[in-house]
Symmetry: C2
Subunit: 158 residues, 2 copies
């Protein structure tokens, strides 16, 4: 039975990460469904909320997310009136983002549900273990994987 000796996908860090993400997504989304927001959207609203009218690029950087992906993700939230954008008066390249009144209200509502999910998760997994998990994940998000695929030590400007 070769299948027992094959490593299985449990060996792949990325595959494990995605699988666990799907699992948690189903859970958090389910709990937060009454608010009408997906957990992803709630997270984005929150990030904007604590960001102080952040620029698109700042949000993307904080979330380790592609800038264009952020733009797309933001669209439904703008369409539904939870978020609005405006051009930075000092640098017209920069687009800043903020919550609308409605967005703040909706975020409040969603946060209450979030707490339920979060609490439940920690009850099941253990507060201490959850903390360790988040710390590890935070580390990973900050890593630098530079593959030295022919790194010119110093481009020497030539």
């Amino acid at each position: 039975m070769p299948k027992d000796t094959l490593p299985g996908l449990t060996a792949c860090n990325y595959a494990m990460l995605r699988r666990a993400t799907r699992k948690l997504g189903q859970f958090y989304d389910d709990v937060q469904a009454p608010s009408g927001l997906k957990a992803t959207q709630q997270g984005l609203l929150y990030q904007i909320h604590i960001g102080g009218e952040p620029a698109m690029g700042a949000i993307a950087a904080a979330l380790v997310m592609d800038l264009s992906a952020l733009g797309h993700t933001l669209k439904p939230l703008v369409r539904d009136g939870f978020v609005e954008t405006f051009t930075d008066p000092d640098d017209r390249r920069i687009k800043r983002v903020r919550l609308t009144q409605q967005g703040r209200i909706k975020l409040d509502e969603a946060m209450k549900l979030w707490q339920t999910a979060q609490q439940r998760f920690e009850d099941v997994v253990g507060k201490e273990k959850a903390e360790r998990l988040r710390a590890m994940l935070d580390d990973i998000s900050a890593l630098d994987f530079d593959l030295p695929t022919a790194t010119p030590a110093i481009p020497a400007k030539a």
Copy 2:
């Protein structure tokens, strides 16, 4: 400065998970790009490979993935000739999946690149720590979050 006292999104298990997933996705995808497969596709091919002509439902269950999502994800792989499907002769509801010859070759190719990425990840994070991470993620994928949202102890068939 209220921003320093706000919990930041680092408190949310799900948000952390997604952020780390994006980070690793960018890394693994980048390393595996030469094969033409995304890391997600490589993972799926591998799962099929070790599954012994698995049924759609079996794959979805193993990956904690929605069945319809799996169907969609499979399409490009079928289109590109890496995977083929056939109806189970003993139960025509069941659709089984297997790699084509071309699919096996492509998987081999991608696995070599995967090993590079995997190795690099473990070099940076530490083999032991990576192992703990995967174990935790594996646990999470197997959890049962039943929120007793009015659980009728026994529907009593009425």
